[in-house]
Symmetry: C2
């Protein structure tokens, strides 16, 4: 990237999100995004494969972070606490740019195809976390159940946080949601 395009990637991402919020994802073209950012389409395609990629380019880094935390954690931590601690850390990162995260979610909520993409990314994340638990010696089905449950907690917590019901930080909402899950599933067994 030339020095005549300082922070081209960030400018493109901001321009794209602005346009997706203003006009809708489907109505926005790569040409619109490049123009808004004061850059060329060619520059856009040096940074992103397509306009959808702008919304999902963090998924890989998020998965790598979570898997590394699970893999590197001490031996005596319960699997669910390990998954939730990793998700809290991811939540803290997301929270560094709360408006970005909320606007991104608004765009995704308005578009079924993007919702599907998000679902697929989250399912892949759950699979990767289950595999990381198995690598630590956690047997199935506990590994799968714990990972799937962790992602379910994260999704519900993120939605609550993004809807802005309260001013609690995302890591805290994740922790609270785990507490509420424990109450919800802890009922009498038949």
């Amino acid at each position: 990237m030339g020095r005549w395009e300082p922070n081209a990637r960030g400018r493109l991402a901001e321009a794209a999100l602005d346009l997706y919020v203003e006009h809708g994802f489907d109505q926005t073209t790569v040409a619109d995004i490049a123009q808004r950012a004061g850059l060329t389409e060619r520059t856009f395609f040096r940074h992103y494969a397509d306009k959808r990629e702008v919304l999902f380019d963090q998924s890989g880094a998020l998965e790598a972070l979570l898997v590394a935390r699970v893999t590197d954690a001490g031996a005596d931590v319960a699997p669910i606490d390990l998954i939730i601690a990793a998700l809290e850390e991811a939540g803290a990162r997301i929270q560094e740019e709360p408006e970005h995260a909320r606007r991104r979610q608004t765009v995704i909520d308005a578009n079924p195809t993007l919702q599907e993409r998000e679902l697929i990314k989250l399912a892949a994340l759950a699979s990767a976390l289950a595999e990381a638990l198995r690598q630590r010696g956690v047997a199935d089905p506990a590994a799968s159940l714990t990972a799937e449950t962790g992602i379910a907690v994260f999704r519900v917590a993120f939605e609550r946080w993004a809807a802005g019901d309260d001013r609690t930080g995302l890591p805290q909402v994740i922790r609270d949601s785990l507490g509420q899950l424990r109450i919800a599933v802890g009922g009498e067994s038949r």
Copy 2:
């Protein structure tokens, strides 16, 4: 449907599943399916919108069954027990044709596009169950957490059952999986 085509729908479904297993979903055409079933393409399209629909035509009935069970249950049942009881009943129905369910899963597992479709259907099911819980007066986030967790338990249980690790019935595997989830999430809170 004319009486000259007895059980056309079932014959088409069986022929489709045979061909998907033998040759792969992508390699199978509607013409192939009709020919195998001894029927016409026109008849196929009277029963199914496309070849994917053959694999997912039960989703609507499954969702309706589950939502009805949640809606009609007695007032004193804990939400998680209610969701799991409904899923056990769905499991009992699925188990009436175990080979059909397992072969269908084999086809889906071999095809990323079908896996995505299945994910979307399950996410819609979780949303419908959460809404049914809210209609019963269960507040969020408990409603969402319980429904999402129920579907996670169902997915993991179905996979275990379909993989044929043991001879336990699907409803029992669902019940056991809930028990294991309770152990997995019940660890010490930090």
